[in-house]
Subunit: 389 residues, 2 copies
Amino acid sequence: MKSVLSTKIGIVGGGQLGKMMIQEAKKMGFWVAILDPEPLCAAHSLVDEHIVAGLKDRDAIIKLSEICDIVTYEIEHINVDALFEVERAGKPVYPSPASLKVIQNKYTQKQTLLDKGVPVPEFLPVSSADDILAAGEKFGYPMMLKACLGGYDGRGNFLVKSAAQAKEGFDALGGATGPLMIEKFVDFTIEISVLACRGRDGQIAVYPVGQNNHKNEVLDETRVPAPISEKTRASAMDVARSVMEIFEGVGIFCVEMFVLKDETVSVNEIAPRPHNSGHYSIEGCVTSQFANHIRAVAGLPLGETRLVKPAVMRNILGEPGYDGPANPQGAENVLAIPGAALHVYGKHETRAKRKMGHITIVADTLEEAVTRGQQAFDGFKMLSTTGSD
Amino acid sequence: MKSVLSTKIGIVGGGQLGKMMIQEAKKMGFWVAILDPEPLCAAHSLVDEHIVAGLKDRDAIIKLSEICDIVTYEIEHINVDALFEVERAGKPVYPSPASLKVIQNKYTQKQTLLDKGVPVPEFLPVSSADDILAAGEKFGYPMMLKACLGGYDGRGNFLVKSAAQAKEGFDALGGATGPLMIEKFVDFTIEISVLACRGRDGQIAVYPVGQNNHKNEVLDETRVPAPISEKTRASAMDVARSVMEIFEGVGIFCVEMFVLKDETVSVNEIAPRPHNSGHYSIEGCVTSQFANHIRAVAGLPLGETRLVKPAVMRNILGEPGYDGPANPQGAENVLAIPGAALHVYGKHETRAKRKMGHITIVADTLEEAVTRGQQAFDGFKMLSTTGSD
C-alpha cells in the first residue's frame, strides 16, 4: 500500500505561510514543491522543487500540479481558473477552487454567508459613485468601501466619512476597473479571529478565539484567549464551524469577526488558508494551524487544537526608512525574554511595513504574555544594510 | 551592525539530528550548510548548501568551515583533528574540539568525570584479555566491555558474563585494533537522561529528567518527567550542570545516567549534541533541545526549558524484514490519537532497526501519555516498498 506520507504536496506561493506549512510537512517527511515568482522567497531553501513563476501563471500552476499529488495554496489572490483545470484533470486541490472563487470576491463571500444565516455587516454592491451615495442614505456615514478582489492588510479599503467623499473613494479604489462593495460601518468593541480546519472526511477542528489589534490596518498583535464572555466565545466558534460547513473547506481557514456592543459577532472576512492571526498556534496550541493544514490536505486526522498556555503574537514589520537587504537587529533582546520564540521569515529584502517575521510569547497568564510581548517587540527592529543607520 | 541572524551555520552530519536543528535554525531565518555523505540524507531538502562527503573527510570539513561563520555537529564520530584546524584558522567550532576529543573516547570521558568528582561506574582500561580477567577479580561478573571509540546504540559494547568470556569479548570488539575499557556492571533501577545547554557566555539551561527504556540496546521510549524522588531529580540535574561546566560545552549535551538502588545517580555516557532521548522537548518543552542548540552556537540567550505537559517519545525503527525504500504505514492511526505528533525523518532507505522517525505524545498526565504512546507505536510500521508484504 502506498504510504500517505509519500503524497507529494504542491503549494502555490512560497511566502512565510508557505514556509511554515513546509516546516510542518517536513516533520512528517513529505516531499514539497512550491510555485513562487521570487527565486529566494521565504520558503525557497526548504523545498524539494521550486517553480519560479507568477501566482497567476496558468502554465506554471499546471506544471506544479503535474509534479505533485495534491495542490494547496498559501494566498487567495491566484489563478483560480487554472486550479479548476487542475481539478478537472483529476488532481485534488484543497481548499476547492469552487470555495476559493466565492471567497476571493468579497461580495460573493458575504452574500454566501448572508444566505446561510451567518451574521455579517450590512452591505451593497457598488458600480458607481451614485451607488455609494444611495448606500449612505441607507446605512449612514461612515461606511467602508471595499474592492471586491485582491485587497489585503487594509489595501483595497476606503473609509467613506461623508457623502462628499463618495467620488474620491470610488476613484481611489479604481471603481471603473473592478467590482466594489460597500459595508455599513460596524461599531465594534474588539476584533477577533478563529481558525478552523476541516479534514477531507469532514472532521472539523476549531481553535481558541484570539483578539487582534491592528496598527495602520495591519495586524500588530494577537492575544489568546480573547477577553470575551463565554457566550461570545461560543458564538464565535460556532460561526467558524458553520463557515467550514458552508464552504466545505478542506484545510485551515481563518474567520475574522467583529465583536459588537451587544456581545454578538459579525464576520468581517474569511481567509481560506493559514492566517497571520493564527501564528500563535505554533507555540501556543498542541497542533499548529500549519500542522493541521498539512494533515487536512494529506487526508490525515486532525490534531488537538487546545491552547496549552496563554499566548501573544507580535508582528515584525519592515522599519520605515530602511528599505533594502534585511538586517534584523535585537534577536538577543527577544530571546532573553522567558517564553519567547522568534520567527524571521528569511525574506532578503525589507521594505516599510513588509511582514518580515513575528514573535510569540507563551506565559502562565495572558497579562504576562502581553507585557513580555511588548518588551520583545520594543527590543527588535527590522533594519536594512543600506538603511539610514 | 551585522545581524546575529546572518551567522552562517555549518553542521557536520545531515541525519535526523541535523534536520531537527535546521528546522529550528530556519524558524529564525539562518542560512545553513551541511556535510553528509548521503546525497538524499534526512536534512538534505532543508539546507542552503550540502557538501556531499564523508564525516571524517578533512578537506570537506575545511571547505564547510570556509563557507560558514561557525561550525557545529550532530554526531561525535567525526574528524576532530580537522575541527582543531578549523578552530586554529579562527573559525568557532561548538562544542569545542577539545571537549569533543575527550568525550569521543569513552575512557578519557569517564576519567575526566571521575577526576572532577562526578559519579561514574568503576572502570579500567583494557589492552588484553588478561586485563579483563584482572578486572573480573576486582569488580566481579558480569562486567560491561566497551570499545572506547565509535560505539552507539549498544554497538561497541559486550557484556562479559564470566571469566570464560574474556577472550570472546576482547575479540568481538576487535581488541587489537582500538582501545577498550571495562566497567563494573551497574545494578540500576532505571535509566534516565538530562539535557543541558550552555551558551557562549556560560549561561546554562538544564532540562527536566526523562526516563529511558531501551529495547535491544536501542532507545525505545522516553517518559518525562521520570518517576524518581525529588532528591534524585535534583542530583541528576546537578550532575548535568557539572558536566557542562567541566567540558565548557557550548551547545546542547545529553547526560545519560543510571539511577541506583540507593537513589543516587551514576553517569553512563555523555553525548556532546542533541540526543534521541531529548526529542520529547520539541512538543514537551517551551524551548526544544534543537532550538537551544541553535541559540547557543549562534551566541544568543537560551530559552526556557520547562516541561509544558507530560510527554512520551517512542522511537520508530525500521521493521525487520523490510529493508529497502521506506514505505511508512499507519500515519493515520498515530495522528488520530490526541496529543500525538509524528516525525518521519525522510531517510529514503529503511533497514531493520534503523532510526526512521519518532512519535511524541503530550497529555495531561504521564500515564495517559504512556498509554497513548503505546497505541501510537502499535499503529505504525516502517515497512519498505520492496518488503515481505
